[in-house]
């Protein structure tokens, strides 16, 4: 996924964590998930992302998730922080 300098990041590359790269704008929600457990939890990760985007009414966004086996709570938390950081950057 290509990002500009408008993108924000959140999280780490430690085991059990994830790294979120997020940029507001574009058309619709582009979500890319990279995870070793994608076969079993790719869908769960996508749902976590959608829950947060819905909660903040973010409809146009690019998100890349580099997951290292994080649980749902961590995925939701990291995406939420990234969304808040991106909104703050836009001055919203």
């Amino acid at each position: 996924m290509e990002f500009t300098d408008k993108a924000v990041k959140c999280g780490t590359d430690k085991k059990g964590d994830l790294l979120v790269t997020l940029e507001l704008g574009g058309n619709g929600r582009e979500i890319e998930i990279k995870s070793k457990v994608e076969k079993k939890f790719g869908e769960a990760i996508r749902q976590d992302v959608l829950i947060i985007l819905d909660a903040f009414s973010v409809n146009n966004v690019k998100i890349q998730i580099d997951d290292l086996g994080a649980l749902d709570f961590a995925i939701k938390a990291r995406v939420e922080t990234a969304v808040k950081r991106a909104l703050a950057k836009e001055g919203k």
Binding site: K15, G16, K36, K39, F41, E43, A44, L68, G69
Partner: protein, 510 residues
């Protein structure tokens, strides 16, 4: 239980016509006689030492035969590649590779599979490229995965007939006596080579420790060895023996190990004169170290230890906490040296260790065994062969054997690894049946198999975090969240054999 239609499919495969489905750990009632062993004869002074090329002709190796190796050189082995390359150059094809196990180092054999030199596998486990080859469905018939005891049984009953056994020999004298405790490539116990040496039509020692002087320590006797061939190196010592394995430093693993030791000490099996087996992973060693503390506290001594040996086992042996050790395999240099020097440290064969069709394998002495697991299910069935996606990565090894023999079998295992739940409704592959497993210990609590009401009674009021399997399962599910189910439906490409020879599960193409 194995699906009847799968069994039917298995029975259509040449060589597997008589395979039966697993029906219980002790359901088999064998009778009859052991396989006949070849009569051997040499006149005094006969030379056994030749080039491998000469020997391959002399033993009459032909297309379609079965060759065998042991895995006691573990990830340092160079003998399989050396021998199979020589065989390939002779144009021999369609061999069955019968080996006590395969390590990552044997990835180098892949070209010989692709050329058709080897078309069938009979092993305890394989992983890496060979595992992938099996699961691409490229073998002529499904690979067969046996337990250590099951392999000895198959050899001794004639189910697995070996034409030529090539035995990597760290030390071999000119008469053909072999040991694993001397030489630059010392590997310790040769337990897993012993059934092959006894029953193969021809036995060839491949050694980098040849000596004209008769050995004073003999693991495999000259009476079984037909030929000797000398090579520069049978393997890489760094891959043969690990550095000393230390107690786990992971706080979570220590929690599990401590619970395991506490739960064992709370049963009647923890007593003076007990017999036990521990694995050699960091968590098993941690459990052993907590057990050791309790033994010192209560002035308790074990009459015997059974199974693979590492430095920590040797420490307990030397401290007198274990009186004697029965050893089919050694993992580190300390263990190898101990086997060679300590008269209370005994080398035993895979058959003696675990063959269920014998008058009493050593695993039957076990009061308790502490084993690990890749996955476990709510019926206590254990998987140690494949990962959560059904991919080959481990080996049954002695797991089902020790679990069947021990009065108390304890599984130590984290409830999840990297988000994947390890406690499931159904394991990806059943290797050890739930009826052999008595206690599961995780970082979130301990579950006792409902079949063992007596154990539940022993643990009552002992301040242990006892949970039901369902409670632990709910905890795992809550943590990991909802998983998309993974279906295992690809073509049949491997058979998982229980120690008695019945089929307990299968491996699918992926």
């Amino acid at each position: 239980m194995l699906n009847p239609s799968l069994l039917n499919e298995i029975n259509q495969i040449p060589g597997f016509e008589n395979k039966k489905a697993f029906a219980g750990a002790f359901a088999a009632k064998p009778n009859g006689r052991m396989a006949a062993r070849p009569i051997k004869f040499v006149t005094p002074g006969t030379n056994k030492k030749f080039s491998l090329d000469y020997i391959l002709d002399a033993v009459g190796l032909k297309d379609g035969m079965t060759i065998s190796f042991h895995h006691c050189l573990r990830n340092g082995d160079a003998v399989m590649l050396y021998v199979i390359d020589a065989i390939a150059k002779k144009g021999i094809r369609d061999l069955t590779l019968a080996v006590s196990s395969l390590s990552a180092v044997q990835d180098c054999l892949l070209p010989y599979f692709e050329q058709g030199v080897i078309t069938a596998i009979d092993t305890s486990g394989n992983r890496g490229k060979l595992g992938a080859y099996v699961q691409q469905g490229k073998l002529k018939k499904p690979a067969i995965y046996r337990t250590h005891g099951g392999r000895a049984r198959a050899i001794e009953t004639g189910e697995l007939h070996i034409n030529v056994a090539f035995i990597a020999a760290p030390c071999c004298d000119k008469y053909g006596n072999i040991n694993g405790v001397q030489g630059k490539s010392a590997c310790g116990s040769l337990g897993y080579a012993m059934p092959d040496a006894e029953y193969a039509d021809f036995v060839v020692a491949v050694t980098d420790g040849y000596t004209e002087t008769a050995l004073d320590y003999v693991s495999i006797p000259q009476t079984q060895v037909d030929y000797i061939t000398e090579v520069d190196s049978i393997g890489d010592p760094a891959g043969i023996a690990t550095g000393s394995i230390r107690v786990s430093k992971s706080p979570a693993e220590l929690v599990i190990s401590k619970y395991a030791a506490d739960v064992i000490a709370a049963t009647e099996y923890f007593r003076d004169g007990m017999v036990f087996q521990f694995g050699s992973g960091g968590m098993a060693i941690a459990t052993a170290s907590f057990i050791r503390e309790k033994m010192l506290q209560d002035s308790i001594v074990a009459s015997a230890g059974v199974g693979g040996v590492s430095g920590f086992h040797v420490q307990m042996l030397n401290e007198g906490l274990i009186k004697t050790f029965y050893d089919p395999q050694d993992f580190d240099v300390t263990a190898i040296q101990s086997l060679g020097t300590n008269p209370r440290h005994h080398e035993i064969s895979a058959s003696a260790y675990a063959n269920p069709f014998s008058a009493n394998p050593y695993v039957n002495m076990l009061d308790f065994a502490v084993l690990s697991a890749t996955e476990i299910d709510v019926d206590f069935n254990v998987n140690v062969l494949t990962d959560s996606y059904g991919k080959l990565l481990g080996a049954p090894g002695g797991h089902p054997d020790a679990a069947a023999g021990a009065k108390l079998t304890v599984i130590t295992m984290p409830l999840l690894r990297n988000r994947l739940p390890m406690l499931l409704d159904h394991v990806s592959t059943i290797v050890t049946p739930g009826e052999s497993i008595d206690i599961l210990v995780t970082e979130y609590g301990i579950a006792v198999n409902p079949r063992r009401q007596d154990v539940t009674d022993m643990l009552r009021g002992k301040a242990l975090p006892i949970k039901s399997m369902e409670e632990l399962k709910a905890k795992a599910d809550k943590l990991t969240g909802k998983a998309t189910p993974v279906e295992f439906s690809g073509k049949l490409c491997g058979l998982v054999e229980y120690r008695d020879g019945t089929i307990i599960d299968v491996i699918h193409q992926i």
